[in-house]
């Protein structure tokens, strides 16, 4: 890879935010170098590239870091303007995408994170919240459109390449959940 156009992604294999960026790079056919971060032992580079949050993913292009997965996605679309486009051309359509991206992040992922790291009453309330969207317990009869969208997505070869094996994910999620429950236990 030529130095000036070098693209590096600092990520973590089980992080869905990291996977978003990997998927986008692959969809666009952009060559990149992947560096796995150990979140228990963050690299000096990560702390330098993302001093505010110290989180993955961070995309480094021409030596300059970009943090926040959705911001990275927009950066990719604006820098590599070839097809396929990640965002629509029309400003109104882009606004709709922006709205739903925010909704997904706030209402679904944040709610899921709470469900995941809590139990009892806190978890009950969080489940109620994402029952509205119904992602976790995607009942095919209750949410046919969402179910079929998820199916179509997971059948795409690029997506299959990027999603980590189920058992591996289950393992790490169990670890994170136990850790979270222990630290919040009185």
């Amino acid at each position: 890879m030529v130095e000036e156009n070098r693209v590096t992604l600092r990520g973590m294999w089980s992080s869905m935010y990291s996977k978003r960026v990997e998927l986008a790079l692959r969809v666009k056919g952009i060559e990149y170098e992947y560096m796995e971060e150990d979140l228990m032992n963050k690299s000096m580079l990560l702390l330098r590239y993302n001093p505010v949050h110290k989180k993955v993913p961070v995309l480094v292009h021409n030596g300059k870091p970009v943090a926040e997965s959705l911001v990275i996605l927009e950066y990719i679309d604006e820098t590599w303007k070839h097809n396929p486009r990640l965002l629509p051309e029309d400003p109104y359509e882009r606004a709709k995408v922006g709205f739903w991206a925010n909704f997904l992040h706030l209402q679904v992922f944040e709610a899921l994170a709470v469900v995941f790291t809590s139990e009892g009453e806190v978890q009950e309330r969080a489940i109620e919240q994402e029952e509205v969207f119904g992602v976790k317990f995607i009942d095919r009869d209750k949410y046919p459109i969402i179910s079929s969208w998820v199916m179509s997505l997971t059948e795409l070869p690029l997506v299959k390449e990027v999603i980590p094996p189920r058992e591996k994910l289950a393992g790490i999620f169990r670890f994170i959940r136990d850790k979270a429950l222990k630290s919040s236990a009185v």
Binding site: E68, V71, A95, F99, N102
Partner: protein, 244 residues
């Protein structure tokens, strides 16, 4: 609620307005005077010289139009252009920047745009700090205060460090607008709760930025009255704390 003649007139003009915006002739902004999110859109419209009609929404008695235009959240601000609604203040701002490129809110270079969007996201994630302060007391208030201080420290050390007058350089940009609530709303929250955040010699860069921000004409001419705001938030605070 009895409809007085003036109410009827208001209703008629709102209907005309909706009809006009559906013809693609004007912008209509549904807002609420105490809301910093509402003002973000007003500032952007004023900066770009975009004519618009403003409709004050009663947040305790939401209009059917609002529920129709923002069915997901039922919140302001909502911008309606050509009959099509756009929700979420920062989404509206990016939309305005794309349709009216004069007085740009975002830089043109993709890397600088990414930097700006990073700070916009930070502003969005942290704006609830202010909200949490006036809505809580005791331990929860203490936590909210710590969160707010952490946010301000990051802004001072990483956001404003090395910047000129504004996040946008010599002129206000989307990041300045996103943080506008700090310049005017936060002082009111500090006053009504007695929780001091920006005091003494702390946050010199932030203090300078707040001062510069409020000096800009299209900002200073478009700010809600401070006393009115204090009264409003004080009342809201009592209501929330007494029903908790």
């Amino acid at each position: 609620k009895l409809l007085s003649p003036s109410h009827e007139l208001i209703r008629q003009s709102v209907h005309q307005l909706i009809a006009a915006s559906e013809n693609g002739n004007s912008e209509a902004l549904w807002g609420a005077w105490p809301s910093p999110f509402s003002y973000r859109v007003i500032w952007a419209l004023k900066l770009k010289g975009i004519p618009f009609e403003y409709i004050e929404e009663d947040l305790f008695n939401k209009s059917p139009q609002l529920l129709q235009y923002n069915p997901v959240y039922q919140k302001i601000p909502v911008l309606v252009h050509g009959g099509r609604p756009i929700c979420e203040s920062m989404v509206i701002l990016e939309y305005l920047d794309e349709k009216w490129p004069q007085q740009p809110l975002l830089p043109s270079d993709p890397y600088e745009r990414a930097e700006a969007r990073f700070w916009v996201k930070f502003a969005e994630d942290k704006v609830s700090c202010s909200g949490m302060i006036y809505q809580t007391e005791g331990e929860k208030l203490e936590k909210a205060r710590r969160d707010a201080l952490e946010m301000l420290t990051i802004l001072e050390e990483h956001g404003l460090n090395g910047k000129k007058k504004f996040f946008g350089g010599d002129n206000i940009n989307i990041v300045d607008i996103a943080f506008g609530w700090i310049a005017h709303w936060m002082g009111v929250i500090e006053e009504i709760t007695g929780v001091k955040l920006i005091e003494g010699n702390k946050f010199p860069l932030l203090k300078a930025w707040m001062h510069n921000f409020k000096e800009v004409s299209f900002i200073s001419e478009n700010l809600p009255n401070r006393e009115k705001m204090a009264a409003f938030f004080r009342a809201r605070r009592s209501m929330i704390l007494s029903s908790a």
